[in-house]
């Protein structure tokens, strides 16, 4: 494996993804990520300087909606998914800006 993921990198990626990993999970993730980067290195061996970067898997563009209101009061359906509801709002743990 050419790419070695450091403990700091795994720690950092874990924080970004809000994941708490055990020591064993960290080791496994380090190995998986190293292999992924190896694979990217392999892809990079190909000369793509003449190829347009692909921005979407399907050759489709300009899919639009007209600016017309099509949805009604979605309150009940939306709040049905709320883990906790207070009146018409989602109640979440206290968050300070």
């Amino acid at each position: 494996m050419a790419n070695v993921i450091s403990d700091e990198t795994i720690e950092y990626v874990g924080i970004l993804a809000k994941l708490e990993l055990s020591e064993a999970e960290k080791e496994r993730a380090k190995k998986d990520m190293g292999e992924m980067l190896d694979y990217i290195d392999k892809l990079n061996e190909l000369d793509t300087s003449e190829v347009e970067p692909m921005s979407h898997v399907f050759p489709v563009n300009n899919v639009f909606r007209e600016d017309e209101v099509t949805n009604g009061d979605g309150r009940e359906k939306t709040l049905a998914n709320a883990p906790a509801r207070k009146e018409d709002t989602f109640e979440v743990p206290k968050t300070i800006v």
């Binding site: 921005s55 563009n61 639009f64 007209e66 009061d73 309150r75 939306t78 998914n81 989602f90 206290k94």
Partner: protein, 477 residues
Amino acid sequence: MKQYETVIGLEVHVELATKTKIFCGCSTAFGGAENSHTCPVCTGMPGSLPVLNKKVVEYAVAVGLATNCTITQNCKFDRKNYFYPDNPQNYQISQLYLPICRNGGIEIETEEGGKKTVGIHEIHMEEDAGKLVHDEYGENSLVDFNRSGVPLIEIVSEPDMRSAEEVIAYLEKLRLIIQYLGASDCKLQEGSMRADVNLSIREVGTEEFGTRTEMKNLNSFKAIARAIEGERERQIDLLEAGEKVVQETRRWDDAKEYSYAMRSKEDAQDYRYFPEPDLVPVIISDEWLKEIKERQPELRTEKLERYKREFQIPDYDAGIITSNKHLADIFEETTAICNNPKKVSNWLMVETMRLLKEHEMEVEEIKFSPENLAKLIKLTDENQINSSVAKEVFEKIFDEDIDPEQYVEENGLRTVSDDGALRSTIEKVIAENPKSVEDYKSGKKKAIGFLVGQTMKAMQGKADPGMVNKILTELLQ
């Protein structure tokens, strides 16, 4: 102390005036019950798919064209990842790699009366987040997703501004352009226009930029000016004390006139952008671009020239009236009804401005209808009321948008045009004021002013002063 220069760049968020959100058919109207304008798309439910609102692209392109930008005819969206309860998807759909507009700029007037171009680095389209309210009585925070998915454009300037005055001039110019385009109402207080200030200082003569901070929570021009002054001083104090400015986001507290570092999250700013897989690229053809260009409404400079040409309004007055879209709209609508542009301009320039100042109101807050101003002008044109009564009625129109015809009728304010009634009142005034009559006759022509005043008083203000003057002069001969 060393001489420092302030270097300022702005990130301005503008809420677009679309009827619906950027990626779903939910309404963007204000004032709906909490979470009533929501659906699976704008609340980030798994399996939902965003579909781009065409109008958002057209508004963004219109703003880009009016600010001299190059339009990215092949543009796409990217995903900006972060966790926060007001962001139900855990990412915001925005544009990083191919923003819709790039390399523009607008001209501002500097304090010294010169002109200066403030560069626009880019304009990109993105979605707004929901609203987080902290429950004062409970342990928790409350989320309303009505604003989630409301379309925004973010206009990123180059660090070309050097003072609070230049920043305000830039914002005012930008706001005017966008309001004229109808792309947004740009109300700072209501948050449909928001400015984040990036500020650094450097010693005069240095090429290199200093470390910058970003200030948020600025919701009026005055707050922006104070925040710039406060942050400039804070940074100078740090450097003078031999310390370093830390790159961070700060929240301006306008009441305390100080900015506070926002709790820096452990992850700092690592948004791990990647191309948005749920949306297809946007290709803006030459034809579409041309169509948007042709649809562009009359902008300020053109309007100003037209007012001068079509209505013979002086340059200065035309400048004031067109300095605000709302004012220009009132002017045109009123003129269309009463066909008396000079009088309309006069009511707007003098009394309206006076009352705005007196009530500390913004032009946007004017709520009287063109119909009622036009009726008032008609009443004065026909000499049905005199100018002092007209001012009194106008105040009522300004405050409560009353119907002047009805108001004049109900309060008996119509000028007494009955020559006989006026004549007998004047005869009475002459008889009661022999001293003034004597003064007048002995050459003190000014004494007539007192007699006019007494007559107006006796007539309870409902006489035409010109007419009173004429009859008085005649009777005193």
